[in-house]
């Protein structure tokens, strides 16, 4: 938990926030919940922790936001600290429970509202607070400078041009079809992700660009309950897209970035109609179209033969509607696909979503415990490769792999596609003599 632990609670501010959120939706939800308990079975925290009834979604929202309303905002710091434990430590806002509630109560929204109230009193996980400072300063969660980012792009372009002839990473190209935005950890820790994306776009002959600002599509401020900052972050991206006049914003293989850019962001940024100013496309959708339309072809000799499973990121499948696209991509890439049970929009959260991974060591033990459901799902498929188009799922499944000895490899679509796609003649690197002939 971040500082200001002993500061008195600003009850007036809490009251104002509660009142501002007290619309027909929340009023209805809080008043009609019939306490039937059907949501319990939907929650992996509940399932992984021996069905502890205190982990049922209804219990969690009743004892946080529900109580805040009942007490009319007259709460103390002690109470908010208890909420802190529930709303960040026991919920990833994966929205699975809303599919299991007969009334369709959107519990994730209730939890997110409770988060914003705790945030207003300086109660927020330290891991998330750190990224907030970075967002504020540099517009990206890792605090990377524009210079470093552009250098990384250039470095990757140079390095990869040796493998794919004519490969470039266009920066700030006006009027491009896709403005490709990434998760800040890609340029920071996995620059090859940028290189792989560039390879795919080059081979698909895509008209794309990377923006020099607003390039980080993640939005952890959304999970920290800092709506103003979340709006600022997403606006950086929208504004850049409008300035460049691009057709669409493309989101890297990241789950919550899609949720932020396409669905929640417009509200944080105050866009009219609740829709983003520029169409948002997720990589899963675009990669599927490339394969479907033959813009990317897979080498039949290199198709994966090992058993493969697919981890549906909550914000790509359940909250993004792209569960079939993910599976159709795999049909092109692998012979032996074994789906998890449950799957598609009913798949469980990996346990790393909702800001959980960046919340860091303070929450790691719990993350491993509640990840048991996912670990068992993976083990039961017998798969050796887990594909997931989300950075948080990627980290979480890797951690689970170690914790539960799953003996799997975790891969993104990019990694597999660049490994096994056919690189047409014209993009093949040229030998020195041939190059001489060409010129």
């Amino acid at each position: 938990m971040s500082e200001s632990i002993d500061k008195p609670v600003d009850v007036q501010q809490i009251k104002t926030l509660l009142e501002a959120n007290n619309g027909a939706r929340i009023k209805t939800w809080l008043s009609i919940c019939s306490r039937c308990g059907l949501c319990a079975e939907s929650c992996f925290f509940y399932l992984a922790n021996d069905r502890d009834p205190r982990l049922s979604p209804a219990y969690k929202f009743k004892n946080t936001l529900g109580l805040m309303y009942r007490k009319k905002g007259n709460v103390d710091r002690e109470f908010l600290k208890k909420c802190y434990d529930i709303i960040w430590g026991e919920c990833t806002t994966c929205k699975r429970c809303s599919m299991y509630c007969p009334f369709g109560i959107d519990i994730a929204t209730l939890i997110a509202t409770a988060r914003s109230i705790c945030f207003s009193q300086g109660i927020v996980p330290e891991g998330l607070a750190r990224t907030s400072a970075n967002y504020r300063e540099t517009g990206n969660q890792m605090g990377m400078s524009t210079e470093d980012f552009l250098e990384t792009c250039q470095w990757m372009a140079e390095e990869t041009a040796e493998e794919i002839r004519g490969l470039t990473i266009p920066i700030d190209k006006p009027g491009a079809k896709y403005m490709y935005t990434v998760n800040a950890r890609e340029p920071m820790f996995y620059p090859q992700d940028l290189a792989m994306a560039a390879q795919i776009f080059t081979v698909a002959e895509e008209d794309w660009t990377i923006p020099s600002s607003g390039w980080d599509c993640t939005n952890l401020a959304m999970f920290a309950g800092d709506k103003a900052l979340a709006g600022h972050v997403v606006k950086l991206m929208y504004d850049k897209a409008l300035q460049l006049g691009v057709e669409k914003i493309l989101i890297t293989e990241c789950g919550h970035a899609y949720r932020s850019a396409a669905f929640e962001g417009p509200y944080f940024a105050g866009c009219t109609g609740g829709k983003p100013p520029v169409e948002i496309v997720h990589s899963v959708r675009l990669f599927y179209e490339y394969l479907r339309d033959g813009r990317i072809k897979i080498d039949p000799d290199k198709i994966l033969t090992e058993p493969v499973t697919y981890q549906d990121p909550c914000n790509v499948s359940r909250n993004g509607g792209l569960w079939e696209e993910g599976r159709k991509i795999i049909q092109f890439l692998a012979e032996d696909f074994r789906d998890m049970s449950p799957n598609r929009e009913h798949n469980h959260c990996c346990g790393g979503g909702g800001g959980y991974i960046p919340m860091g060591p303070e929450f790691k033990k719990r993350r491993m415990l509640s990840g048991r459901v996912k670990a068992e799902q993976i083990r039961n498929t017998g798969a050796k490769i887990v594909i997931t188009p989300c950075h948080n799922c990627f980290d979480q499944v890797n951690d689970l792999n170690k914790e539960y000895d799953l003996n799997v490899r975790v891969l993104s679509f990019k990694e597999i596609i660049t490994e096994i796609m056919i690189v047409p003649e014209k993009f093949q690197p040229v030998d020195e003599e041939e190059a001489g002939d060409d010129e």
Partner: protein, 195 residues
């Protein structure tokens, strides 16, 4: 009704999200999948509870609306009446309702994830739902003092109707709104299903 209008006004002001993504098709699908028994994954995972709670709701509506005695009164007052259930069937449905109430009562006591959420008010409401049926049943069979039973029956029924707008029982109408909302919130906005 007043409550609905109040919520409508409030939603106009504070819940733009409701109108931004409104879509009838998603709303109907969301309602449809949840109004048909076992129409959603959630219900299929809890088959026995689903059976009990559908039976409960069917009896709850069918008996008072289609009871021949009630329709006789209606005929007297307004000069027309609805199709009626044979008394024997109505009797059976009343018993079924009382059994399902007992089931729901026990479920609240037995299942830890339900017990922890349950408040005394839940038991009171369940009892209040049961009483008009119990007293009506006793009055019909003329078990116990008939006149007293009849008065109690009318009283309990009135109280129950009065309580609806001020309690979770308001879901009798609000359910359609909350179901519609999540239907197009998930569907029109995100392209995903909510059942």
């Amino acid at each position: 009704m007043c409550r609905i209008f109040y919520l409508y006004g409030l939603s106009r002001e504070r819940d733009k999200v409701f109108y931004n993504h409104m879509n009838w098709s998603w709303a109907w699908r969301s309602i449809g999948h949840w109004i048909i028994p076992w129409g959603s994954v959630s219900m299929r995972k809890q088959p026995i509870f689903t059976f009990a709670f559908f039976l409960f709701h069917v009896c709850l509506f069918a008996v008072p609306i289609f009871l021949s005695a009630h329709n006789l009164l209606l005929e007297e007052w307004v000069g027309w009446s609805l199709w009626t259930l044979p008394d024997r069937v109505a009797d059976a449905l009343t018993i079924a309702l009382m059994v399902t109430v007992l089931f729901l009562f026990l479920r609240r006591l037995v299942r830890p994830e339900v017990r922890i959420l349950t408040t005394a008010w839940d038991y009171v409401l369940l009892t209040m739902t049961l009483l008009p049926f119990l007293t009506g049943f006793l009055a019909y069979h003329q078990w116990g003092p008939y006149r007293l039973m009849l008065v109690l029956h009318i009283l309990c029924g009135e109280i129950l109707l009065w309580v609806i707008p001020f309690s979770k029982l308001s879901h009798v109408l609000l359910w359609f709104f909350s179901r519609s909302f999540i239907g197009f919130e998930m569907g029109e906005r995100r392209g995903a299903r909510s059942w």
